[in-house]
């Protein structure tokens, strides 16, 4: 199936989750940090959508905002809609939103060492979900929790049920987090860099567990990461975020072979590869990430962009359809971006040769 037809078949369906023009701010002292500036995205049924970007690009904040989980204050969602199942989650009363959290949309987090309650048995941390959302009795919940621990690959689950987080390794704790998140058969799983704190072999196992359970449970997954290797391994589609906005939305394969935004090109160039080991130093994007407390004009990436022009300093580009089927927010012509990508590839092979 070609990319175009895959995209078209997805667009025909209504998305399961739709974020429209989301804006999130944080008040820090006297200044305001504009963490998310008009993010829009669609998540389709059964797909894995990766949200990538560097630290501070707003990827975690925007996904936490979907469930209203940013601390308010200092955080504030100033604008936008989060449409799930025909309802705007932002305008739901707190009690209704709580029925969606964990039951319909659940999350796993970056640091499994601190994301579990240290003074509660892991069994109880699972059963409280089952009792709350599925109204199970404590005996039913216990049986189900042991099944779930088994499902995420924890050996000897009946014994592990009564143990505390301190008795688990990092990878095992992340499996427990997954068991908690999946306990009520959610429609959507939001994974906020769940493998960042784990070593690479464990990372692989966690990816496999989630991938397996996704197809088994017919879930959609949003996977936040800054690791393009993870994207390649798990994602159907990718959203590249920069400065609190989506700058490129593409099929995962297209992002790697036909990047449409200069920032995506920069990201791909900076990935060290086993095939061409780094001889001198890693390729990096020049300049610094934007200061999100400054109100700036134009495209957030223009100070670092090799293709920046006059217009980039005054106007903010919107996401536009590209010939490849991807969407990119850039004033540069697709040909210029393509040659920039070729240039990067050349430099890399030269560095390898030299």
């Amino acid at each position: 199936m070609s990319n175009q037809s895959r995209t078209r078949s997805r667009e025909a369906k209504t998305p399961i989750l739709s974020v429209r023009d989301l804006n999130v701010e944080f008040s820090v002292g006297n200044s305001t940090v504009h963490a998310v500036n008009g993010l829009s995205l669609d998540l389709h049924k059964g797909e894995t959508l990766a949200v990538v970007g560097e630290s501070g690009s707003g990827k975690s904040v925007s996904m936490l905002s979907v469930l209203g989980l940013i601390p308010q204050p200092p955080g504030k969602i100033t604008k936008g809609q989060v449409l799930y199942d025909g309802r705007d989650l932002r305008s739901l009363p707190a009690g209704e939103l709580r029925k969606i959290r964990g039951k319909e949309i659940s999350m796993i987090f970056q640091d499994p060492m601190t994301s579990l309650n240290p003074t509660m048995t892991i069994g109880r941390q699972i059963t409280e979900m089952l009792e709350l959302h599925l109204k199970m009795t404590s005996a039913q919940a216990k049986n189900r929790a042991i099944e779930l621990l088994d499902l995420v690959g924890i050996p000897d689950p009946a014994n592990r049920f009564g143990q505390y987080p301190i008795e688990f390794s990092g990878g095992m704790r992340q499996r427990v987090m997954i068991a908690i998140a999946l306990s009520c058969n959610p429609k959507i799983l939001i994974a906020d860099e769940p493998t960042t704190a784990l070593d690479v072999t464990i990372q692989m196992q966690i990816l496999q567990v989630v991938n397996e359970l996704r197809s088994k449970m017919d879930m959609s997954v949003i996977w936040i990461t800054h690791d393009l290797g993870v994207v390649a391994g798990i994602a159907d589609r990718v959203i590249v975020m920069y400065g609190g906005r989506a700058v490129e939305v593409a099929e995962a394969e297209d992002l790697f072979y036909k990047p449409q935004h200069p920032y995506s090109v920069g990201l791909l160039n900076s990935v060290p590869s086993i095939a061409d080991p780094v001889v001198d130093r890693l390729v990096a994007i020049d300049g610094l990430p934007p200061d999100m407390s400054q109100n700036r004009e134009g495209c957030a990436f223009h100070p670092r962009c090799p293709l920046a022009r006059e217009i980039c300093t005054t106007k903010t580009p919107e996401l536009e359809n590209r010939a490849t089927g991807s969407h990119a927010a850039c004033f540069a012509s697709p040909d210029d971006v393509a040659s920039l990508a070729r240039l990067g590839a050349d430099q890399r092979s030269k560095a390898q040769a030299g």
């Binding site: 709580r98 964990g102 039951k103 659940s106 601190t114 240290p118 003074t119 709350l132 959302h133 505390y164």
Partner: protein, 306 residues
Amino acid sequence: MYKLAMHRLGHSALLIFGVVTVIFFTNFLLGDPVRVMLPASTPPEAVEEFRRQMGFDRPILVQYWDFISHAVFLDFGDSWWQKSPSLEIALRPFPATLQLGIVAVALASILGIGIGLFAGARPGSLWDKLATSLSILGVSLPLIWFTLMMALIFSVWLGILPTAGYGTAAHMVLPVVTLAALPLGRTVQITRASIIDELAKPYITTAHSKGLSERTIILRHALRNALPPIATEIGWESALLLTGYSIIVESVYGWPGFGFALYHAILTRDMPVIIAMAFVAAMVVVFINVIVDIIYVIADPTIRKK
């Protein structure tokens, strides 16, 4: 666990030994005990005779040995003024203080934790500011002034509570309220700070993402983790109540308790009684610490596994 308990026991014995020793020697620093016990007009020969009788003419280390070798069998000697064993005199007023102390600590703990949780769950709100201001007021009240003002307002002006004495529930109101004020203020502050710390931790975000209510998150998840510093503080307040606050409060309200008795023992320089009371107070402090340790283990079951 067993090792830890034995370690604590040894530690406590050493502590009590230290307290008793320090009190023994400081008693001599306060002046010649014989001069205090005899009227100023006593002829010098009679003073020396009395000194020999009491054994104060011996070297101080000999006296100390004499004292400590009896003290290990809980014999602290007879009171100088009342001819009965000083430990008995030290223990007699104890139940009256316990009665006040338990009510005051329970009141301060329940109200303090409740208000602290309420304020800490909504930091910066009007309720939080009110609770914080009141707790600062409670902590900064000079106790001696506060006890007198309360007696003045409720007993003298309004006439609804007795000024002093022991017996009915009405007699307990003023001592309990004044004893509870400081611990209440501090418990509010510690609980608030501790719960704010806990609520900022990642596992709380997890709990929110599970769809739990604010109330469940605070009571089921955060409170237990926030408990150790609160338990330490309440334990400390309880010890302070026995050995500090009760002296003022019981003296002002004429409550026949430990503080009142200690005040009298010090006034009359009744050395064996002072030492016996210091011993009792040290024992109570040790006991309170054991309770705090037990609360630690209940709050954080993983301590058992460490």
